[in-house]
Each structure stands twice: as structure tokens, then as C-alpha cells.
């Protein structure tokens, strides 16, 4: 390929990325937007953290460039290279910024209001575990509290020098598909400090894919979109272009970005994300198993159906967080508040993309990893290549599908293969059938001839083996016929322009919290905020002044609080179901404890009686 060809391809790729570039809608109060990496890196210093040693600065702030970042660097096992975007702050500068921010008359699109709090949407167990999680932040590594404000200040200064919104893109042609990969780089993720979320970290890389089919004439048509999101993978990430969930502005798909987290969603709304703490994992598994036994083995009604719509059932030991993707703030994209700059191609991948395997922001040494910055577009935090980079189709489960234009040809091809298999199978069956009949006739002829006993036995074995083999071949033939029929029907369906249900491939989908779930009064929210504290204060008062009745008192206190809340949340039915189920379990355990041997004896008697009854019934019949 000549230089001219390369330039032409790059220009064509850039035009393709431009044609389908997404529109991103943010939530009010969002501080950070997709930017170029060059000014960011210029503001950073580069560090190396060897295990069990103090971190060492390799390149100080102001001297780092993309070229320097790409220089090869050795390190022992466990060494982490990372950038540091925000240096310890000048307190006067920060105070001035905070004062300016508080005095500034803010654009309504700049102000975030949490609305119905996440705690009001979940139960007491989750609230208690949430309090525990907040406490763990004191112990584990985290991004310091003033970092988000300092990052916002630095971001503002960078934008003052050159305001821009940009993305990075890649065009990959594989298996007949044209995959457009869009990468968005944010200097900071302030989900925790700005929007009551799980974490804060420096640098944030977000990504989506669009999958196009290409006709022989070179015309492209979008077929699928896949947005990277929390805890989803494979088929669940992907939406068909004609799925109503994929909102579009002309040919541009719309992304609703989570406030602070920048996670991508198809629909506007407030998403309940759940965090599982590593040390609570055994309890999470236990509750999941108990729920499984309750629903599937005992076929009992689940007490809480609210969260099943999100694919996984509610678990008290997972911490709930709301990802606000309201789309009521700034919008970036063609014809929006702000437009994209020209895309920057990642193909061929620049040196800073492939050579730098470290983190793009502070390494906070958080064992849960949430507060550590992410690595770049190619790598995971551990330095291994991301699947979304090396396997663009498999990442979204598209590697099993041909582009629609090729689907009919693929069906015909498979149909022809099946036909050939069928003919071969039919021939084999006919031959074996013939041999079986021969053996059968010979075996029948040997009956009543004692001197042929050994030969007869050998025949019997051969007949048995051949019958079994024939049975398997016929079953295979029948299955092939059924498959061929299904392929014919599918081909007819495609010819009629029917591609089948758009969402049949989705097993688990993220859905925003329903309006019904959000219809909580201000009192419900207030109650959610104070209830756990109230319970703890009540417990202390009882422990001090009524120690003899502590157990009963605590049970009473919890009951009253739970009852009050269930009342105004209109969840009294669920409460009755859950409480009764709990009492039934306790009663069963009490009975088992008090009457263990009697229960064993009774069970044996009942089993004996049942067997007797069944046998007698058979005799009568």
C-alpha cells in the first residue's frame, strides 16, 4: 500500500466515523466532557509504583508529552506506571475556585439535583451495607476529596486555552462487517463526589461500537450498536439499529452518559447499579442461592419483584448506587449544543496507544480498584489487551452473525452442506440396514441348531451394535431434516424482509428505574436518610436504659420502622409476604429442633404407607 493509498483510506475512515458519530446527552451538572489526550498529558506527571516501595516520579509535570509517554519502560513484576493529573493543591487557588463557583449565577443546565435518593429505593439491609461501604473508604486507598474540584479547575483552564470536544475512532473490517469504534476520553470521573456514586478516579475512557453492513457497491448501512456499560457483556450490550431503544438523530445514535461515571446508556433515565464488595461476596452468593431455592425448588413467590426486571434479583449485600443518565444537560454531537472536532484515528494505532500500558491517572492503591484510574483504549488495568480492542465482533457477541446481506447466501451454503450430509447419511443407513437384515435372517436361520450357538451369539452382538448405530444415524438424519426445514423457513422470512424480533438475543438488559418506582414522597426520602441512624440511636438508648428488654425492644423498633416505611412505599403486601416467609422458616426450625426424632419416625411411617398404598393400587389394577 502506497502512502497515498494509506492517506485515502484514513480519509475514508474519518468520513465514515464522522457520518455516524454519536450524539452524547449529559445530565445537568456534568463537569467533564470528551477531550483530546494531548493537553491532558501535558498537565500530568508520570510515576512508577514498584510493589512495597514508595512511588517514583519519572517525568515531572510540564515535561510530559505523548512521545515521552510512549517510550518503553521496564519494571519488575507488580510495578504500576501511572499518570498523576492533579498535584496537591494550592489551598488559596482552590478556595478562590470554590468561592467563584458558589457565587456564580449558574446556568440551569449546570445544576444537578439528585431528586429521589438512591437510599429511598432500597431496603434497610442495603442502607446498612452502604453505611459500611462509606466507612471502608476511610481505610482503603481513594482519590482525595478536593481532587474533583481541582480537576474541574484544571479542565476549565485547558478548555480556556482551546475549547474542544473530540473523540478517537477506529474502522475495522472483519467477517463482512464494518465496525466503527468510538473512544471518548474524559479527564476525570467524579461519580462519587459529584453524584453520590461508587467512585472517583482520574481519567476515564468510554467506548461504543457501531456495526455496519457493506453492499458490493460499497454502500454502508448501520445494523447494530453496542455501548460499553457497567457489568454487561456479549449479546446484552448489543441493540439492533431498528430497536426503538436505539434513539437516533438522523444517522447518529444517541448515548445517554451517566453523570460523573460517563457510562453509556441507550435510554434516558436513572439506573440502579449494584456494587459487590469482595469481602461480602460469600454472603451475596449465599443470598442468591437461598433465593434460588425459595423460588425454584420450593416454587414459592418471591417477596421482592421490583428488581427482577433488571435481570438479576435484588440482593441485600450488594450496594445500590444510582447512575443518573437523564440527558437533560449539555448535548454534544451534530446539530447539538456543541459539535465534535474532527475525529482522531486510532488506526494505525499511535505509539501512545500501544506502547503505554500504564494507568491514565492516579493509582490510588484501592484494592477494589474503583478509585484507580483506568488504562488506555488498548489495555486493561493489568496491562493485558482489552477484548474490545482485539475482538470487536466477539466483544458484543456479533461473531456468530453474518451481515444481513450475506445471511441468505450463508443459509444457502449451509443448506447445501446439509443436503450433502443427508445424501451421505441416507446412503450409509441403506448400507447398514441391508447388513442388519442379512444378519437378522442368518440369526433366525440358526435358531434350533445347537451346534451354531457360538455363531448365533456373535450374530446377536453384531445385530445389537448395528441396531444401535442405525438408530443414531436415523436420529441424526431426522435432526438434519428439521434443521434444513428451519433454515428454509428462516430464508423465506429474510426474503420477506422480516429479521425477527429485535431483542430476542438479550438475556439481561439495563432498564431505567420505572416512574412507578420513583413515585416516592419527600417524606419517604427523608425517612430513608434518617431511618438507619434512628435505629442505631434507639438501640443505644435501649441498651443503656432497658437492657433486659433489649432483644424484644429491638425487634419491636425494627418492626415499627419497617412497617412505617412499607406503608408509605405501598409495599405492605411485600412486607407481609416476606415477614410470613421468615416466620415460617423460624417455626420450621423450631419444630425440627423440638421434634427431630418424631419427625424422622413420622417421615419413615408416611413413606412406608405411601409405598404400601402404591403397591396395593397396582395389585387392584
Amino acid at each position: 500500500m502506497t502512502v497515498e493509498d494509506t492517506l485515502q483510506t484514513a480519509e475514508a475512515d474519518r468520513a465514515l466515523l464522522r457520518r455516524f458519530e454519536p450524539v452524547i446527552r449529559y445530565t445537568r451538572g456534568e463537569r467533564f466532557f470528551p477531550m483530546d489526550v494531548e493537553p491532558y498529558v501535558r498537565e500530568c506527571s508520570l510515576w512508577q509504583q514498584p510493589p512495597d516501595e514508595d512511588p517514583a516520579c519519572l517525568v515531572p509535570e510540564g515535561q510530559l508529552t505523548l512521545e515521552k509517554l510512549a517510550e518503553p519502560r521496564a519494571g519488575g513484576f507488580g510495578t504500576v506506571h501511572y499518570l498523576k493529573f492533579i498535584e496537591p493543591l494550592d489551598i488559596i487557588e482552590l478556595a478562590r475556585y470554590q468561592l467563584e463557583e458558589s457565587l456564580k449565577r449558574k446556568d440551569p443546565k449546570d445544576v444537578f439535583r439528585a431528586g429521589r435518593g438512591r437510599l429511598a429505593r432500597v431496603g434497610y439491609g442495603s442502607r446498612f451495607v452502604d453505611a459500611l461501604f462509606s466507612v471502608t473508604l476511610l481505610a482503603r486507598g481513594r482519590v482525595p476529596g478536593d481532587t474533583a474540584a481541582a480537576a474541574a479547575l484544571t479542565y476549565r483552564q485547558m478548555m480556556a486555552q482551546r475549547e474542544h470536544q473530540c473523540y478517537f475512532g477506529r474502522v475495522i473490517r472483519r467477517n463482512g462487517w464494518v465496525a466503527l469504534q468510538y473512544w471518548f476520553f474524559y479527564p476525570f470521573n467524579n461519580w462519587r463526589s459529584g453524584f453520590f456514586g461508587v467512585n472517583d478516579h482520574e481519567a476515564d475512557w468510554e467506548m461504543i461500537y457501531l456495526y455496519l453492513s457493506e453492499s458490493d457497491a460499497g454502500e454502508v448501512r448501520p445494523e447494530w450498536a453496542a455501548y460499553a456499560s457497567h457489568d454487561f457483556s456479549g449479546d446484552d450490550l448489543r441493540r439492533r439499529w431498528d430497536d426503538p431503544e436505539v434513539e437516533k438523530v438522523g444517522e447518529h445514535p444517541v448515548i445517554y452518559a451517566g453523570a460523573g461515571s460517563h457510562a453509556s446508556y441507550y435510554s434516558r433515565g436513572e439506573y440502579l447499579a449494584e456494587l459487590e464488595l469482595p469481602f461480602l461476596s460469600p454472603l451475596v452468593r449465599l443470598v442468591d442461592r437461598l433465593q434460588d431455592v425459595w423460588r425454584k425448588t420450593l416454587r414459592q413467590v418471591s417477596g421482592d419483584k421490583r428488581r427482577e426486571t433488571n435481570g438479576s434479583e435484588f440482593n441485600v449485600f450488594r450496594i445500590p448506587f444510582v447512575d443518573y443518565a437523564r440527558g437533560d444537560g449539555v448535548s454534544i454531537g451534530p446539530g447539538q449544543d456543541k459539535e465534535w472536532d474532527a475525529p482522531q484515528l486510532l488506526d494505525p494505532a499511535p505509539a501512545w496507544v500501544v506502547e503505554y500500558r500504564g494507568l491514565w491517572g492516579l493509582y490510588a492503591r484501592d484494592p477494589i480498584a474503583g478509585e484507580n484510574a483506568p488504562a488506555g483504549p488498548v489495555y486493561n488495568r493489568d496491562g493485558m489487551v482489552r477484548r474490545s480492542w482485539y475482538d470487536p465482533l466477539g466483544w458484543a457477541g456479533l461473531d456468530k452473525l453474518p451481515p444481513p446481506d450475506e445471511a441468505l447466501a450463508k443459509i444457502q451454503e449451509r443448506r447445501a452442506e446439509l443436503e450433502a450430509e443427508r445424501a451421505a447419511l441416507a446412503q450409509t443407513i441403506a448400507g447398514k440396514q441391508h447388513a442388519l437384515v442379512d444378519l437378522g435372517v442368518e440369526a433366525a436361520a440358526m435358531q434350533g441348531r445347537p451346534h451354531l450357538e457360538k455363531l448365533h451369539n456373535a450374530h446377536a452382538e453384531k445385530i445389537s451394535a448395528l441396531s444401535k448405530e442405525l438408530n443414531q444415524l436415523r436420529a441424526q438424519l431426522t435432526a438434519n431434516d428439521a434443521l434444513a426445514e428451519a433454515l428454509d423457513l428462516y430464508a423465506a422470512q429474510l426474503r420477506a424482509g422480516d429479521r425477527g424480533p429485535a431483542r430476542a438475543h438479550i438475556h439481561r438488559a439495563h432498564r431505567p428505574a420505572s416512574d412507578v418506582g420513583l413515585q416516592l414522597s419527600r417524606f419517604a426520602e427523608f425517612w430513608a436518610a434518617i431511618s438507619i441512624g434512628l435505629m442505631m440511636i434507639g438501640f443505644v438508648i435501649m441498651a443503656l436504659f432497658a437492657r433486659h428488654y433489649l432483644l424484644f425492644g429491638l425487634a419491636g423498633l425494627i418492626s415499627v420502622i419497617v412497617f412505617v416505611e412499607a406503608g408509605f412505599r405501598r409495599q405492605l403486601p411485600q412486607l407481609i409476604i416476606s415477614a410470613t416467609a421468615g416466620l415460617a422458616v423460624v417455626a420450621a426450625l423450631v419444630l425440627l429442633f423440638e421434634f427431630f426424632w418424631q419427625i424422622v419416625v413420622l417421615a419413615v411411617i408416611v413413606a412406608g404407607g405411601y409405598i404400601m398404598w402404591e403397591n396395593l393400587r397396582e395389585l387392584r389394577a
Binding site: 416454587r299 431483542r503 430476542a504 438488559a509 410470613t580 416467609a581 416466620l583 417455626a587 419444630l591
Partner: protein, 138 residues
């Protein structure tokens, strides 16, 4: 539904009997004095509670016969209350021996809870959805 109604009727009769026995035990003690009246109060309260629960079970049983939509939840509530009283009796009187009818109450309510939650029984009383969710996620 008729079977559940009959079972609740039997439960109501049982609870009424227990309540009456508790109340009679109190009123038949002729030697009650101002000093011992506090000792007799729990029996009287217990008896009254059981009779109230029996009346509730009776009402719920009638709602089962009339196929009221709230019957299932009310029946579950009766079982919850029965279990709560039975477990209270069990825990309160331990280890000095507790009334044997507490075990019978537990066993009967346990059976009823399982029966009420089994298979299609709850579905028969669940309100029909007013609207269908968009899309097909599964």
C-alpha cells in the same frame, strides 16, 4: 379455593377454642385478689388476642368463599400473626415449658403458608397487569 376456605375455617375454630380456654381459665379462678390480678392478666390478654385472630380468620375464610382478590394476602397475614403468636409463646415461656398448642399452631400455619404459596394459588389472586412493558428482554 373452597379447600383453603375450609382450612381457614378449621383454623378459626382452633384459635377460638384456645382463646376461650385461656379466658375461662382466668375467669374460673375464683380466688383472684388485687395482688394476683397482674398474674392473671397475660392469660386474659392472650385469650382475647386468640379470639380476635379467630374472628379475623373467619372473615378471611368467608372472603375466600366469595373469591375476594384480597383473600390470599389476608390469609397470609393471618398465618403471619399466628406464627408470631406461636413463636412468642414458645420464646416467652422457655425454658419452663410452654403450651403444647403453640406447636400445633406453628405446624398448621406452616402448612398453610406452603399451601398458599404453592404453584398457581398466588397467581389466581394476583391482579392482572394493566400495561405491558415495551420490548422483549428475555
Amino acid at each position: 379455593m373452597t379447600v383453603l376456605g375450609l382450612l381457614l375455617l378449621v383454623q378459626a375454630a382452633g384459635l377460638f377454642t384456645i382463646g376461650t380456654v385461656n379466658l375461662l381459665r382466668t375467669s374460673l379462678r375464683l380466688g383472684i385478689t388485687p395482688e394476683t390480678v397482674m398474674d392473671e392478666l397475660p392469660n386474659a390478654a392472650r385469650g382475647s388476642l386468640f379470639i380476635a385472630l379467630a374472628l379475623l380468620a373467619l372473615l378471611v375464610s368467608s372472603s375466600f368463599f366469595r373469591l375476594r382478590p384480597t383473600a390470599w394476602l389476608s390469609a397470609l397475614l393471618v398465618q403471619g400473626l399466628t406464627l408470631f403468636f406461636a413463636l412468642s409463646l414458645y420464646l416467652r415461656d422457655r425454658p419452663g415449658g410452654h403450651p403444647h398448642y403453640a406447636y400445633v399452631m406453628m405446624l398448621y400455619a406452616l402448612f398453610m403458608v406452603i399451601y398458599l404459596n404453592y404453584g398457581d394459588v398466588p397467581a389466581a389472586f394476583r391482579p392482572k397487569p394493566e400495561f405491558l412493558d415495551r420490548g422483549q428482554d428475555r
